[in-house]
C-alpha cells in the first residue's frame, strides 16, 4: 500500500527455472540477430532499432525500481547524454568512441553529484523530486538555445560511427549495446549487489544496521543506470539524425515506468516484455487512425486492472498451469 513497497502484489509470481530462462534468452538473441533476415523491410528494421533503444531505458530504470526508487527523471538523464555527445561531436569534433563515452559519463556524473542528496528521500518523495528535476532539465534544454538550439533542436546529426550509414548496420550496433546493457543489469540483479539492493528496498534501516553502506550503493546504482540511459540518448540522436527536448520530457520518463509496470516491475523479464509491448502496440493499432491513442489508454487500464503484477503474470500463470498438468499426468 505504501510507496516504499509498490510492487508487493507481484511477489510470489512463479517463474520458469534456469533452463527455461536460458532457452528464452537464446531465443530472444536469435530473434534479435535474425530479425532483419526474416523481414528485410526498412520499417521493421527501424522498429527493431527503436525496441533495442527503449530496452536500455526500461531495463536501467528497472535497476532503480528494484532498489525501491521510482525515478521520473530518467528521460532527463537520457537527454543530457544525448546532448553531450551531439554537441561534442558537432561543435568540437570529438571522434567516435569518445563522444559515446562522454554521453554515458555526463549523466553518471550528474547522478553522482545529486544522488547523495536526493537518494536520501524514499518512496513517493523521491518520485516527486525526480519529476521536478526532470522538468528543470527540460526547461534548461528549451531555454538555453545558444547551446542546444532551443525547442527547434539540432538537425543533421552525423552517423555515430563514421561510414556506418545504413539502417541495418545501426540496428546491429543498437542491439549489441542494448544486449550488453541488459546483460549487465541481469548480472547486477542476480549477484550480491542485487541482494543488497533488495535489502535496501525492503528496509533501509535494517540494511544499514547490517553494515551495508546504503547511500554509497544507492548512488552507485543510480550512476550506472544514468550512464546506460545516457547511451540510449546518444543512440537516439544518431538514429533520428536529430535531437530536440521533446523526446526527453516527463512523458518519456513515465513511458519507461509504464513499460516496467505493464511488463511486471518485479522481474527483469517484465521490463523487457513491457518495453517490447509498448513499442509494438501503437504499431499494431496503426490501422485504427485517430483511435490509436484511445485504444492504447484503454489497454493500459485493462492490463493494470486485470494483471496487477504485469504481463509476466501471464508467463507465471502459464508455467504454473504446465506444472499442474505434469503433476496430474504423473499421478
Amino acid at each position: 500500500m505504501d510507496a516504499a513497497q509498490p510492487f508487493a502484489a507481484a511477489r510470489g509470481v512463479v517463474l520458469p527455472r534456469n533452463w527455461a530462462t536460458a532457452a528464452g534468452i537464446t531465443a530472444a538473441l536469435a530473434l534479435a540477430v535474425g530479425w532483419p533476415l526474416l523481414i528485410g523491410n526498412p520499417f521493421f528494421i527501424t522498429l527493431g532499432t527503436t525496441i533495442a533503444l527503449e530496452l536500455i531505458g526500461a531495463t536501467s530504470l528497472h535497476l532503480l525500481l528494484r532498489m525501491g526508487h521510482i525515478s521520473l527523471a530518467h528521460a532527463a538523464f537520457m537527454g543530457i547524454g544525448g546532448y553531450t555527445a551531439v554537441l561534442l561531436r558537432m561543435r568540437m569534433d570529438v571522434p567516435f568512441p569518445f563522444d559515446l563515452i562522454a554521453g554515458a559519463l555526463a549523466p553518471a556524473l550528474l547522478a553522482l553529484v545529486i544522488g547523495p542528496v536526493i537518494l536520501r528521500l524514499s518512496g513517493k518523495y523521491f518520485a516527486l523530486v525526480t519529476f521536478m528535476s526532470g522538468e528543470i532539465v527540460r526547461l534548461s534544454l528549451t531555454q538555453w538555445s545558444s547551446l542546444t538550439g532551443g525547442a527547434n533542436g539540432i538537425f543533421g546529426v552525423p552517423p555515430l560511427v563514421p561510414g556506418l550509414t545504413s539502417g541495418l548496420q545501426f540496428y546491429y550496433l543498437a542491439v549489441l549495446i542494448s544486449a550488453v546493457c541488459i546483460a549487465l543489469v541481469a548480472r547486477l540483479l542476480t549477484g550480491e549487489i542485487g541482494r543488497v539492493m533488495a535489502s535496501i528496498r525492503e528496509s533501509e534501516r535494517l540494511a544499514a544496521c547490517s553494515g551495508i553502506p546504503v547511500v554509497r550503493v544507492k548512488v552507485t546504482v543510480f550512476a550506472i543506470a544514468s550512464a546506460m540511459v545516457g547511451m540510449q540518448g546518444v543512440l537516439h540522436a544518431h538514429h533520428l539524425h536529430y535531437i530536440d527536448p521533446s523526446a526527453f520530457t516527463s512523458v518519456q520518463s513515465l513511458n519507461f515506468l509504464v513499460m516496467n509496470i505493464i511488463g511486471g516491475a518485479d522481474h527483469l523479464i517484465g521490463a523487457v516484455a513491457g518495453a517490447v509491448f509498448l513499442v509494438i502496440l501503437p504499431e499494431l493499432l496503426r490501422d485504427y487512425q485517430g483511435l490509436q491513442q484511445i485504444l492504447f489508454g484503454i489497454i493500459l487500464v485493462i492490463v493494470m486492472a486485470g494483471l496487477p503484477g504485469g504481463l509476466v503474470q501471464l508467463i507465471g500463470l502459464g508455467w504454473r498451469a504446465a506444472l499442474d498438468l505434469r503433476r496430474r499426468f504423473a499421478a
Binding site: R120, S122, G123, L257
Partner: protein, 292 residues
C-alpha cells in the same frame, strides 16, 4: 517600474491564478488522501470542464451563473461513470492506479482530439468591464473568477468541517478500516469524494479555459500545477493544498510579470525541489511515520 497599475495587475492575476490552482489541487489531494490514487487524469477532467463551459455558455448561451456550475456538474456526473468502470479497481493500489489513470488520461485527451480536433478555441468572456479602484485598474473577469472559486472553496470547507459526510470523508482519509468499523459506507464516501474532486477540477478547467484558451491538451498545465501545489502543501493535506495554491499563484504572477515565464518556472521548480529535500512532507503535511 512598480507603478500602482502593475501592482494591481499582479495582485489580480495572482488572486485569480491562486483560486484556479487551489480548486485543481484540492481535488487532486482529496483523491490521494482518501483513495491513495495519484490521478493523472485530473488535467483531462479540467479539459472536459472547459469544453462543457464552451458549449453551455458559448454555444447555448445559458446565463453565466448557471452555466459555470452546470458545466462542472455534467463533467462530474460523467466522471462518476468512470469511477464505477475504472477508478474503483485502483483504490489503495498506488502503482497500478498511476498507470491506470495515465491510461484514462490518454483515452480522454485523444477522444477529445477525435471529437473536437486539436485547434484552440476560446470561450467568450463573460465580463469585459474594468473596475477602477483608487488609481488601480482591475479587470472584472479576473475578479469574478476569484469570487466564484472563493465561494466554491467556502462550500467545500463547510462540507468538510460542518457535515457528517465531511467527517466521514476525513475519517476514511485517516484510516479506511477503522472508518468501516464505525459503520461508514466507504464505497459511498469514495464516490462522493470522487464527484467533488472532479467537480472542482472541471470548474477550474472552465475558468482556466476562459482566461487562457481551450484545446484537448490544455490539461497538461493544470496537472503539473496540481502536482507542484500538492508537493508544496504536503500530499493529502487539504489546508496544505489551499496554502500551496495561493503561494504558487502569487509567486508565478509576480515573477512572470517582472521577469518572464521561464524564470518563474525555474524558481518555482527549484523551490519545490529544495522543499522536498529539506521537508519532504510539505509545508502543512505530517511526516510519514510509516516510511521505511
Amino acid at each position: 517600474m512598480l507603478t500602482p497599475a502593475i501592482i494591481g495587475q499582479i495582485l489580480v492575476n495572482g488572486a485569480s491564478l491562486s483560486a484556479i490552482y487551489v480548486l485543481i489541487a484540492l481535488g487532486f489531494t482529496l483523491l490521494f488522501g482518501i483513495m491513495r490514487v495519484v490521478n493523472f487524469a485530473h488535467g483531462a477532467f479540467a479539459m472536459l470542464g472547459g469544453y462543457a463551459l464552451y458549449y453551455l455558455y458559448g454555444s447555448l448561451g445559458l446565463p453565466y451563473v448557471l452555466a459555470v456550475p452546470a458545466a462542472a456538474g455534467i463533467v462530474a456526473a460523467a466522471g462518476l461513470a468512470l469511477e464505477v468502470l475504472v477508478f474503483r479497481w485502483f483504490y489503495n493500489r498506488l502503482m497500478p492506479g498511476m498507470i491506470g489513470s495515465l491510461g484514462v488520461n490518454l483515452a480522454l485527451v485523444f477522444s477529445a482530439v477525435l471529437i473536437w480536433d486539436v485547434y484552440e478555441r476560446s470561450i467568450p468572456p463573460a465580463f469585459v468591464d474594468i473596475v477602477r479602484l483608487g488609481g488601480v485598474l482591475l479587470p472584472l473577469d479576473r475578479l469574478v473568477v476569484t469570487g466564484i472559486a472563493a465561494f466554491v472553496l467556502l462550500l467545500f470547507w463547510l462540507l468538510m468541517t460542518r457535515t457528517r459526510q465531511g467527517l466521514a470523508m476525513r475519517a476514511a482519509a485517516q484510516d479506511v478500516e477503522i472508518a468501516e468499523a464505525q459503520g461508514i459506507d466507504t464505497i459511498r464516501i469514495y464516490r462522493l469524494a470522487f464527484f467533488i474532486a472532479v467537480f472542482m477540477a472541471a470548474l477550474a478547467g472552465g475558468l482556466y479555459a476562459q482566461t487562457y484558451s481551450l484545446s484537448p491538451f490544455m490539461g497538461e498545465r493544470p496537472l503539473l500545477v496540481a502536482f507542484i501545489v500538492v508537493i508544496l502543501g504536503g500530499m493529502g493535506s487539504i489546508p496544505g493544498a489551499a496554502l500551496g495554491g495561493i503561494i504558487l499563484g502569487f509567486v508565478e504572477s509576480i515573477l512572470s510579470t517582472l521577469y518572464g515565464a521561464a524564470t518563474s518556472s525555474f524558481v518555482s521548480f527549484g523551490a519545490v525541489i529544495l522543499l522536498l529535500v529539506l521537508r519532504p512532507w510539505g509545508l502543512l503535511g505530517t511526516p510519514d511515520t510509516m516510511r521505511a
